[in-house]
Amino acid sequence: MTVSIADLVPGASESGGDLSAATLREMFRFMLLARVLDERMWLLNRAGKAPFVISCQGHEAAQVGAAFALTRGKDFTLPYYRGLATVLVMGMTPTEVMLGLFARATDPSSGGRQMPAHYSHRRLKIITQSSPVGTQIAHAAGVGLAERIKGGDAVVWTSFGEGTTSQGDFHEGINLAAVQQLPVIFQCENNEYAISVPQKQQMAVTSVADRGPAYGIPGISVDGTDLLSVYEVTRRAVERARRGDGSTLIEARVVRLTAHSSDDNDRTYRSQRELKSMRLSDPLARFAAYLHDQDMLSEAEERDLRAEIGAEVDAATEAAEQAPMPDPETLHNYVYAL
């Protein structure tokens, strides 16, 4: 099922639904923060200071919209490696993100053990991610199962790419959540590529949401560059999950504005035309234009915000760069939990 915000809340995409102007500006702030941080990481990579970057550029609206529908400190998130905007909204700081980029000892995700963008933060209920794609989908079902056993009402949210839907764990995890009616939201961020492989070589359907009915749960496809639509769709999925009605599969159609990662060169498989035209779908520009239109954000305010965020990212970069590397002696720590 493909929905637009207008189907859900008549007039919503014009009005921003029931969100206050302050909240909308806050959402914009997170999108911008994610973008600026992400761009900075590429600069650091190109300058030889960060060996690996993988981006959320183009996915910001899908992530900020969804995360705003969750309750921070209560709900669990299991975001995949493009989830920078997700973890920022859930409470990770730019400095913490940069500590991960530089693999510093105090990186909260892994103490410099994992590649950047493998987010984890126990206090924030962000569950540790690995690199083999799709495993978190099964974990998410399990977190939901435990919640049901404990009688709690936290909701579990996980994200993954459309390529990852080809994995067995996608199927097994969603199926379990559906059978047991678990409070889990599965967000597929469909950017039409798995590294170089286009969507049509992953699936013979046009939308990942078409798979919801195969599991007996709603499958909803939403324009993932439209923050308010994603927010609204997720809000409803959260309500459904919280009241015990079970899982939802959401496909957020996004664009991948960068190469797959700093190790990739997408000009070998995307045409010049495509590389250019995708820029038109930039969710950040889209939401900025919306806020300007609605007179919720002036040019001057945006400029100030950019300056403020720029400074914040400078400070985060500097703090993280100066943080100590992991002590080689710590290699042997935490093989087993005590």
Binding site: P132, V143, G144, D169, E172
Partner: protein, 327 residues
């Protein structure tokens, strides 16, 4: 002390732990109404309800994967893999996820869960209901691997495994389920994960084994005693972390070592034990380190004639012991 079989010891262990701690739940195929295909979980659904004794879909990756997630949300899952052979689809979740989560999160998250897996042959289970799987998993840092041989150890180790804050692979030899009986105290006790146990002390040679093979080795040792050969039988009980001090001490004392397992010889866990001894007890050795394992064929066939040819048995062990003693 009442005498019960190994299967009952495990069921008791599950039952007593579930009664004490309502964070514990069981998740696996047919574990509910059916009580498991071996009847290990029989009756538990009636006592603890279908939320804590839950039939999973027929999908091992998510059995383990969901238990990992659940363990991170403050419960203590016990996954049942119906036959150890069917753990293979869950290999990714066990090795790449369960075993690495504490390490990769720098100690932030942990995965307190048990994976019970009935393994081993000699029960006419053919290629896919007879396999030994310990070598794959005992190689993985971050996992614990336990393989008890007696009802007492099984119950005590199971309780320790459930209380452990790490993923523990709990291997139950199918042939021991009803065959092996033993005394089990009525009071609450633990057998700690880690220490091996000398099941029979001896002077002339040391035998290292676990699971069903312990019983075959004890039988063989008994039979050699008649001819004046004194065999020490060490039950490893835990394969990871391995009790290296006990292994080395026994090897140094007797100077002769036999390692027995049912799993295929090449690349089996016996290689690790031999290597440790060859490195750290070398000066004390009076003879080559001998391994006796299943032959290097893909798995144990169904036909009785072929199954018998595959399985290590007391007779084969006796011969190996004799040769070694005579060296």
């Amino acid at each position: 002390m009442p005498e019960i079989n190994l299967l009952e010891a495990i069921r008791q262990g599950l039952d007593e732990m579930m009664a004490q701690d309502d964070r514990i739940f069981i998740f696996g195929e047919d574990v509910g109404r059916r009580g498991g295909v071996f009847r290990v979980t029989e009756g538990l659904i009636d006592k603890y309800g279908p939320l804590r004794v839950l039939d999973s879909p027929l999908a091992e990756s998510v059995i383990v994967g969901a238990c990992i997630g659940a363990a991170m949300n403050d419960t203590r899952p016990i996954a049942e893999i119906q036959f150890a052979d069917f753990i293979a689809p869950a290999f990714n979740q066990i090795v790449q996820e369960a075993a690495r989560i504490h390490y990769r999160s720098n100690g932030d998250w942990s995965v307190p869960m048990v994976i019970r897996a009935p393994y081993g042959g000699g029960i006419h289970g053919a290629l896919y209901h007879s396999q030994s799987i310990e070598a794959f998993f005992a190689h993985v840092p971050g996992l614990k691997v336990v393989a008890p041989a007696t009802p007492y150890d099984a119950k005590g180790l199971l309780k320790s495994a459930i209380e452990d804050n790490n993923p523990v692979l709990f291997l139950e030899h199918k042939k021991t389920y009803r065959l092996i009986k033993g005394q089990v105290p009525e009071h609450d006790y633990r057998v700690p994960i880690g220490p091996a146990e000398i099941k029979r002390p001896g002077e002339d040679l040391s035998v290292f084994a676990y699971g069903l093979m312990i019983h075959y080795c004890l039988e063989a040792a008994q039979s050699l005693a008649a001819s004046g050969v004194s065999v020490e039988v060490v039950d490893l009980r835990t394969l990871r972390p391995l009790d290296v001090p006990t292994i080395l001490a026994s090897s140094r004392r007797t100077g002769k070592v036999l390692i027995v397992h049912e799993d295929n010889l090449t690349g089996g866990f016996g290689g690790e034990i031999a290597a440790l001894i060859a490195e750290h007890a070398f000066e004390y050795l009076d003879a080559p380190i001998v391994r006796l394992g299943g032959p290097d064929v893909p798995a144990m066939p169904f036909a009785r004639s072929l199954e018998d040819a595959f399985m290590p048995n007391p007779q084969k062990i006796i011969e190996a012991m004799r040769r070694l003693a005579a060296y």
